[in-house]
């Protein structure tokens, strides 16, 4: 834990970083999850759109202690000197705040998540609708509490919808961790650190199409099938919540409009 810069003395966090002792309790069927959820139950999800006034579209998502803000800018001119393109470009960046993780980080851009977010979204956006221009999607993880990437992806698609970018459908994403013989939906940071394998499924629920599927670790074929079933079910539930969030905002807008007229 080296301090940054020359002048700053090196510091360390007084809180213990890893707690491997609790892992024993997970394999057991009778034990509930640390936050008293069922195995196939998501954390309470909250979505809000229009949180950043300076952006064309924005959304905030809050899954337990995972908190994310996504802003969308554009379509606007492409900044870099890039080749002419008949279709629009999508540019995604995911970054963490310094205080997002239990041990203070350096809050740099997360390259891997940025590229995963790009790949998860590009299939759903109708890029032909904004030729020669770029849509920027910037995500900031305010607090990391597990399942960060799926929350970022869902939140980003909501922000894109808020910005009025044409999409085939909302993109929702959810992850499942394999813990011993159990599959746990929407794992927390603690559960993720003990997992044997993880599966992230990103899909467009109304069209029954998967835009991204990431499987890591140890999985058997029946487990994968079961995991995907759980994920698709959860995704369609999320899309209901996200749609009602969008509609709620729209109805509020209509009221405002009618008042002005």
């Amino acid at each position: 834990m080296a301090g940054k810069g020359g002048a700053t003395p090196s510091t360390y966090s007084p809180s213990p970083t890893t707690q491997k002792t609790k892992s024993l309790s997970f394999g057991n069927d009778e034990v509930l999850r640390p936050d008293d959820r069922e195995w196939h139950q998501c954390r309470p999800a909250f979505f809000q759109i229009g949180v950043v006034a300076a952006a064309a579209g924005s959304a905030y998502a809050d899954f337990g202690s995972t908190k994310v803000i996504v802003s969308v800018f554009g379509p606007r001119e492409s900044k870099k000197a890039v080749m002419y393109s008949d279709i629009g470009r999508l540019n995604c960046t995911v970054s963490y705040t310094n205080f997002a993780t239990p041990v203070r980080g350096q809050g740099s851009d997360h390259k891997e998540f940025s590229s995963m977010l790009h790949k998860a979204l590009e299939g759903a956006i109708i890029l032909e609708t904004f030729p020669k221009t770029t849509v920027d999607v910037f995500a900031l993880v305010l607090e990391s509490g597990g399942s960060d990437l799926p929350v970022v992806i869902s939140c980003a698609s909501l922000a894109l919808a808020d910005a009025g970018i044409m999409m085939y459908d909302l993109v929702t994403s959810v992850s499942v961790s394999c813990l011993g013989k159990n599959l746990v939906l929407d794992p927390t940071l603690e559960e993720e650190s003990h997992q044997d394998g993880s599966l992230i499924l990103t899909c467009m629920p109304s069209r029954d199409e998967v835009t991204q599927l990431t499987i890591t670790g140890e999985w058997s074929t029946p487990k994968i099938n079961e995991g995907m079933k759980i994920c698709t079910d959860a995704c369609s539930k999320f899309s209901q919540i996200m749609k009602s969030c969008l509609k709620g905002f729209d109805s509020a807008l209509e009221e405002e409009d009618s008042n002005v007229d």
Partner: protein, 299 residues
């Protein structure tokens, strides 16, 4: 009141939004002569301000502050360091201000905003020089261990008066700060004590809150001709460029005054007016801060 000139004909058939975009300065001036602003405020009026404590659970102290649509999230993480030989019984505060690309269309990833390091430096100077925090309170074991308070402020939405919002969020985060109870383990490292204390004596018993004396409050004013506009929005800042930031502490003493150039050369009287406005604003901010911190004690 439209001044007659060559573009007069065009103006008569232009709607308000286009006029605002094409002639922003004239748009603002037509408001200013009527002593009002496009968002309906009077010139000396600040935007609605609110604050919430404890927004970040993973931090030791945090606050979210809103001034109009400018939003700041400040969080403090406490870490342990070995104090320097010159000041063995003092801790340290490291303040960083960030403008992530989500906050404004002008910030792009990989190219940090110009304003960020400026505000960062101003914040450090203000907080460390106003005597709000006694660094001796951050000491744990003289010469061996002391707290390093990392304060990170993130701008979530940039709509003008960034320094004011950042300073208020920093102050609110310090007022929310709960220092963890720690003890020295056998390896000479400082560790957090969990519930039962494990038979160890905490080294910082009864020192869980910092005493905040003389809290700094600030107000940014915009100077344009003879007008003084308090708490400008991003649009106002981009159109009229002369800013004056005054910081006063809770007893009304001047902590800092910052006027980074600009086309308007201010008379002393204008500066005095800015200070008077800040004095008034400081009382408002003190009330907002008292309200949120008293809410905390009830919990």
């Amino acid at each position: 009141m439209v001044l007659p000139d060559a573009s007069g004909d065009v103006l008569s058939e232009m709607d308000v939004d286009s006029f605002r975009r094409l002639f922003p300065l004239r748009f603002f001036e037509t408001h200013l002569v009527k002593s009002t602003r496009p968002d309906g405020r009077s010139l000396a009026e600040a935007r609605e301000t609110s604050s919430a404590l404890g927004a970040v659970a993973s931090a030791d102290g945090s606050a979210l502050v809103k001034i109009g649509s400018t939003r700041m999230l400040a969080a403090i993480k406490m870490e342990v360091m070995t104090p320097s030989k010159e000041s063995p019984d003092e801790g340290c505060i490291a303040i960083d201000f960030h403008m992530p690309p989500i906050c404004s269309p002008t910030v792009r990833p990989g190219r940090p905003a110009e304003a960020a390091p400026v505000v960062s430096k101003q914040l450090s100077d203000t907080i460390l020089s106003c005597g709000m925090i006694n660094l001796k309170e951050l000491s744990l074991i003289s010469g061996k261990a002391a707290w390093m308070a990392y304060l990170d402020i993130y701008c979530l939405d940039a709509d003008g008066a960034l320094f004011d919002a950042a300073l208020l969020s920093a102050v609110a985060a310090f007022s929310h700060l709960q220092i963890p109870v720690v003890s020295m383990n056998d390896d000479g490292k400082v560790v957090v004590l969990s519930g039962d204390h494990g038979g160890k004596e905490p080294v910082n018993k009864g020192k869980r809150k910092l005493t905040l004396s003389s809290i700094p409050f600030s107000l940014t004013c915009l100077l344009h001709k003879n007008y003084i506009l308090a708490d400008p929005t991003a649009e106002e800042e981009s159109v009229m460029e002369t800013l004056v930031t005054v910081v006063l502490d809770s007893s009304g003493q001047l902590v800092s005054l910052y006027k980074p150039g600009g086309p308007v050369l201010a008379y002393t009287s204008a500066i005095q007016d800015c200070v008077a406005l800040t004095r008034q604003r400081a009382r408002e901010l003190q009330m907002i801060l008292d309200e949120v911190t008293s809410g905390m004690e009830v919990d």
